[in-house]
Symmetry: C2
Subunit: 203 residues, 2 copies
Amino acid sequence: MYLRALIGLAEDGTTTCSSEELAASAGVNSAKLRKDLSYLGSYGTRGVGYDVEYLRYQIAREIGVTHDWPVVIVGIGNLGHALANYSGFRSRGFRVVALLDADPSRHDEVVAGLDVRSFEDLESIVTEHDVSIGVIATPAVASQSVADRMVAAGITSILNFAPSVLSVPDGVDVRKVDLSIELQILAYHEQRKSVATGTEGVS
Amino acid sequence: MYLRALIGLAEDGTTTCSSEELAASAGVNSAKLRKDLSYLGSYGTRGVGYDVEYLRYQIAREIGVTHDWPVVIVGIGNLGHALANYSGFRSRGFRVVALLDADPSRHDEVVAGLDVRSFEDLESIVTEHDVSIGVIATPAVASQSVADRMVAAGITSILNFAPSVLSVPDGVDVRKVDLSIELQILAYHEQRKSVATGTEGVS
DNA sequence: AGGAGTTTGTGAACGGGAGAACAAAACGGC
DNA sequence: GCCGTTTTGTTCTCCCGTTCACAAACTCCT
């Protein structure tokens, strides 16, 4: 988030910023920002602030976005389609090297300039491109078996868009994004709002 | 998450479950689950466990998924396209009532059975369908102005997929989903793994 | 050179979530 | 009807992230 805020500041032509400004851009408290940055090192100048370009490079180096990460996406339904085309991945240092789907009827499609290939090709693709990050955009029922195959093939980080809890061995990282859970959280607060104001009754 | 786990258990034909089982399905600790459920009330039976259907209804009622929530999606690019087609929304009680885009060249498209309409129609749609939840899938530069218009039109909950920090008045909830941040977090851990094992050097 | 004004970096206090542990309650067998 | 077993609901403790507050350090102006 700080890196993204710095990029935004750099695009606006800002060369130096205080922790207060950067915190506002990132939407956090300035003390938290200073403490977070202090874990990386002492990259600011007291009385002046942070050099935008310098700090940007230091953060990029620390979090590992200085080189491209190859990524495979499994499950080319609506969501996988969008992810394959999502420009944010490429601009943040991720390169989609393959799109896989278990459904043979999808194998003739070309999405985002890539052939949709058979899920059976997973191992060879992972080996060839030295892929360590996989994205699961399949239905929930398929997600665990896809994850197992990914782990067996050597993938050690998984981004899971399926609404399922994956079990993986130690040493493998999983992050889960559940789009409808986010909406449900908003709906919950909406409901509480209407209860509080008495606009709407809840049986 | 608990609701989803309960639905899964119900589909498997389970009628009763212990906190231990449900916690395992949801991927959390059983003490935490019991504590969370205790905030809703005392819906379990000691020595027996929870009735799946009963608990499911109670949670659904509490979080407000007993009735459908109308939703508008603004920005019908790749991501908006996928969101409009995403079946998880409908099955979780959300109904997409309109798709809006500022680009007139998109207005002839039909996505997921809905016309893509002009962003200018926002106010009338919100009023007509009593929409309180809006989804922003525009580029980052447009997101703040879209949010402002949404708030002015009466929307009080926003799900923001743009990589930007939105500022909104009190009483409006914003949740942010940033797809590439998730990948960056995985990449960070990957980098640390390779540093720790000495597989790869970091200058 | 020195003091006033800024801004970072960090020690201390605060708050809240997570897990362990246990009392209360329900069921089943005798 | 009573006791052992099981499982919930809740309290207590611990730990971690966040925030406050302040000393150290840097710049600018006189």
